[in-house]
C-alpha cells in the first residue's frame, strides 16, 4: 500500500511544523549566539508564533465549508475547530513569552532552552487540538507534558521548582496510564482508534470497519469512558484529580505557570470534546452523569478553597480549577452552544488569566515577594497601570460585565440551560458569587489600602506594559464586539459536521 500525501495534508500540519521549526531554530541560535541572548531568543519565538498564526488563519480561510479536506481515515485535521483553538494557544504562548524576559534574566535561565521548550509544548498542544485519532491524542498529550515537566522544574537550584517538576511528572504520567487504558478498551469495543470510525461503529452504521470482529460489548465502552474521563480530568485539574495543581503552579517558574494554566486546558478541552461529544456522542447517556458530577464538585471545591489562600499563585490555581468547572458545564451540555462556549472561553481566558499572572511576574522580576497577596497593599500608588490592569483581570475572572469574562461564563451557563440542566447553571452562578470573595479581596488591597511608607514605584518594562495594555483592551474588545463570538460559532460548525 502506498500513501499519497497531498498539499492539503501538508497544509493541515503547517502551523504545527512552523512552531516545531521555530523551536529547533532557537536551539541552534542558542548554540552560536552569545550576546543579547534573551532579546534574540524572544524575538525568534515571537516571530515563529506570528508566522504560525498567519498559517493558521490561512487554513481557516481555505477550509471555509464544513467539508473535511483529508478524508475519513485522517489522523490530523485542519478544520476550523482546530484552528480556532490554535489561535487561543498561539495567543497564550505569545502573551506568556512577552512577560518572560525580565524573569529569565533575574533567574539566569538559558533563554534559548527555556523558550524553545515553550514552543515545543505549544506544538504539542496544537497537535492535540487537531487530532482525530486516539493515538495522536496520546502522542500530543505526552509531547506537551514532557516539555512542561522540564519547564516546571527548570529552576534547578530552587527546591520548590524541583518539587513542582517532579510532582507534575509523577502524577501526570500516572494519569496518562489511565487515559491510554481507557483508549485501549474503547479500541477493543469499536475496533478502531480513529474517532470518525468510532462514531460510525457506536452510532450503528458499522460496515466501514471489520464489524464481524467488533466486540462492541458495553462494559468495555463504559469502563473505557470512565478511565478516559479520569485521564483527561487529571490534565485539566478537575476535582477530585486536582491535588497537584496548586503545588505545581506555585513551584514552577511564574512564566511557565502563566503559560500552562491557560494553554494546557485550551489544548486538552478540544481533544476532550472530540472524544466525548463527537466520537462517543452516541454514548452520552453513559458519560453525562460522570461529567455532571465532576463539574459540580469542581466549581464548589475550587471556589471555596481559593478563599483561604495567601499566595497569589495558589489563589490563581484554585481559580483555574473553578474555571475548568465552568468550561466542563458547557461541555457536558453536549450541544452546539456548549461547544461554542468552550471555544470562546479560551480566547477570553488567555487574556485574563495570563494577565493576572503578569502582576506576580513583574514583582518577582524585581526581587520582591510577588507571590504574597499581602504585598499588593496600596499597589495603585506604586504603579497605576499594573493595578488598574490587574483590577480589570480580577473583575473579568469574577465575571463582571462588560468584560469578556462575563460573556464567556454567560454562554457556558446558557448552554447548560438550553440542554435542560438548569441546576448546573444555578450552581455555577452561586459559586461565581463565592468567587467574588477572593477576587475582590485583591482589588480592595490594591486600591483601598494605604501604601507602606518607603515603597518604591514599580515599572514593568516595555514588553510587559504592551502585554498588559493589549490584554485589557482584548478583554473589552472580545466581550463587546460580536465578531469574536461569531468566529467561535463558525469554528463549531466544522466540528458538528460529522454527528449530523
Amino acid at each position: 500500500m502506498t500513501i499519497h500525501l497531498t498539499a492539503a495534508d501538508y497544509g493541515a500540519v503547517l502551523p504545527i511544523m512552523i512552531v516545531l521549526g521555530g523551536a529547533l531554530c532557537l536551539l541552534l541560535t542558542d548554540a552560536f549566539v552569545k550576546v543579547h541572548e534573551t532579546e534574540i531568543a524572544t524575538g525568534i519565538s515571537l516571530a515563529t508564533l506570528l508566522l504560525a498564526f498567519a498559517a493558521s488563519a490561512h487554513l481557516w480561510a481555505v477550509n471555509a465549508g464544513p467539508a473535511f479536506p483529508q478524508g475519513a481515515g485522517a489522523m490530523i485535521t485542519g478544520d476550523r475547530f482546530g484552528q480556532f483553538f490554535n489561535f487561543a494557544l498561539l495567543l497564550s504562548s505569545a502573551l506568556a513569552i512577552l512577560i518572560a524576559p525580565p524573569y529569565i534574566r533575574t533567574s539566569h535561565f538559558d533563554a534559548g532552552e527555556f523558550l524553545s521548550l515553550i514552543l515545543f509544548a505549544t506544538a504539542g498542544m496544537m497537535l492535540m487540538a487537531a487530532s482525530l485519532n486516539l493515538m495522536v491524542i496520546f502522542l500530543s498529550i505526552e509531547l506537551l507534558s514532557l516539555a512542561l515537566y522540564i519547564l516546571s522544574g527548570f529552576d534547578r537550584n530552587r527546591p520548590r521548582s524541583q518539587e513542582a517538576g517532579f510532582k507534575y511528572f509523577l502524577l501526570s504520567s500516572f494519569a496518562s496510564a489511565f487515559l491510554i487504558y481507557g483508549m485501549a478498551l474503547i479500541y477493543g469495543a469499536t475496533g478502531s482508534t480513529n474517532l470518525i470510525r468510532i462514531v460510525n461503529v457506536l452510532g450503528g452504521h458499522a460496515g466501514t470497519v471489520a464489524s464481524t470482529h467488533t466486540v462492541l460489548s458495553s462494559p468495555f465502552v463504559l469502563i473505557g469512558i470512565a478511565l478516559m474521563a479520569v485521564g483527561f480530568a487529571f490534565k485539566l485539574s478537575i476535582v477530585p484529580f486536582h491535588m497537584w495543581t496548586p503545588d505545581v503552579y506555585q513551584g514552577a517558574p511564574t512564566p511557565v505557570t502563566a503559560f500552562m494554566s491557560v494553554a494546557t486546558k485550551a489544548a486538552v478541552f478540544p481533544a476532550f470534546l472530540r472524544v466525548f461529544n463527537l466520537a462517543l456522542g452516541a454514548e452520552s447517556h453513559r458519560w453525562f452523569g460522570i461529567l455532571w458530577a465532576l463539574a459540580i464538585v469542581t466549581m464548589i471545591v475550587g471556589n471555596v478553597l481559593a478563599l483561604s489562600q495567601s499566595s497569589m499563585k495558589r489563589l490563581l490555581a484554585y481559580s483555574g480549577i473553578a474555571h475548568a468547572g465552568y468550561v466542563l458545564v458547557a461541555m457536558s451540555a453536549n450541544n452546539r452552544l456548549g461547544a461554542t462556549a468552550v471555544a470562546f472561553y479560551f480566547i477570553v481566558y488567555a487574556f485574563m488569566n495570563i494577565g493576572a499572572f503578569a502582576l506576580v511576574l513583574v514583582l518577582e522580576s524585581r526581587g520582591e515577594a510577588g507571590d504574597e497577596i499581602a504585598t499588593y497593599r496600596g499597589l495603585f500608588a506604586r504603579s497605576p497601570l499594573l493595578a488598574v490592569a490587574t483590577g480589570v483581570f480580577m473583575f473579568s475572572l469574577a465575571g463582571f460585565p462588560p468584560t469578556a469574562g462575563f460573556f464567556a461564563k454567560y454562554y457556558a451557563f446558557a448552554a447548560a440551560v438550553q440542554a435542560g440542566h438548569t441546576e448546573l447553571a444555578i450552581i455555577g452562578v452561586i459559586t461565581s458569587v463565592i468567587s467574588l470573595g477572593y477576587y475582590l479581596r485583591v482589588v480592595v488591597l490594591m486600591f483601598m489600602q494605604p501604601v507602606e511608607a518607603g515603597a518604591e514605584q514599580v515599572r514593568a518594562g516595555p514588553l510587559s506594559d504592551f502585554m498588559l495594555t493589549a490584554s485589557v483592551a482584548g478583554l473589552f474588545v472580545v466581550g463587546l464586539v460580536p465578531w469574536f463570538y461569531n468566529l467561535a460559532v463558525q469554528a463549531v460548525q466544522s466540528f458538528f459536521h460529522f454527528t449530523t
Binding site: Y149, E163, Y187, D247
Partner: protein, 101 residues
C-alpha cells in the same frame, strides 16, 4: 489449548491494578516510577490482545507509540530525580512537602 482474548485481558487488568496500588502505597520515587511502567505495559498487553482478536493493526502501532513515549518519560523522570538528589540526601516523596495548603 491456546488461551483466548479474555485471559489476556484479565491478566492485564490485574497488572494494571497492581501498578495502580503500587503508585498509591509505595514511597520511593523509583518504585513509583516502575509501577507506572507496569501500568503502561499492562495497557500494551491489552492492545496486543485486542489487536490479535480484531485482526487490526491499529493496536500494534499504538503499542510502539506507548513504548517510545515510555522511554522518553524515563529520560525526563530520571533527570528530575537526579537533579533533586543533588540538593537533598534522600528522596522520599513524603518529604517533598515544601508547599502545601
Amino acid at each position: 489449548m491456546t488461551p483466548d482474548a479474555s485471559s489476556y485481558l484479565i491478566i492485564s487488568a490485574i497488572l494494571f491494578t497492581l501498578g495502580t496500588v503500587g503508585v498509591l502505597v509505595r514511597r520511593d520515587p523509583l518504585i513509583i516510577f516502575m509501577c507506572i511502567e507496569l501500568m503502561l505495559n499492562s495497557v500494551n498487553l491489552t492492545f496486543v490482545a485486542f489487536s490479535h482478536y480484531l485482526s487490526s493493526a491499529d493496536g500494534l502501532i499504538f503499542v510502539f507509540m506507548i513504548m517510545t513515549v515510555a522511554a522518553a518519560e524515563v529520560v525526563v523522570g530520571l533527570a528530575l530525580i537526579v537533579s533533586i538528589f543533588r540538593t537533598r540526601e534522600d528522596i522520599d516523596v513524603d518529604q517533598l512537602d515544601e508547599m502545601h495548603g
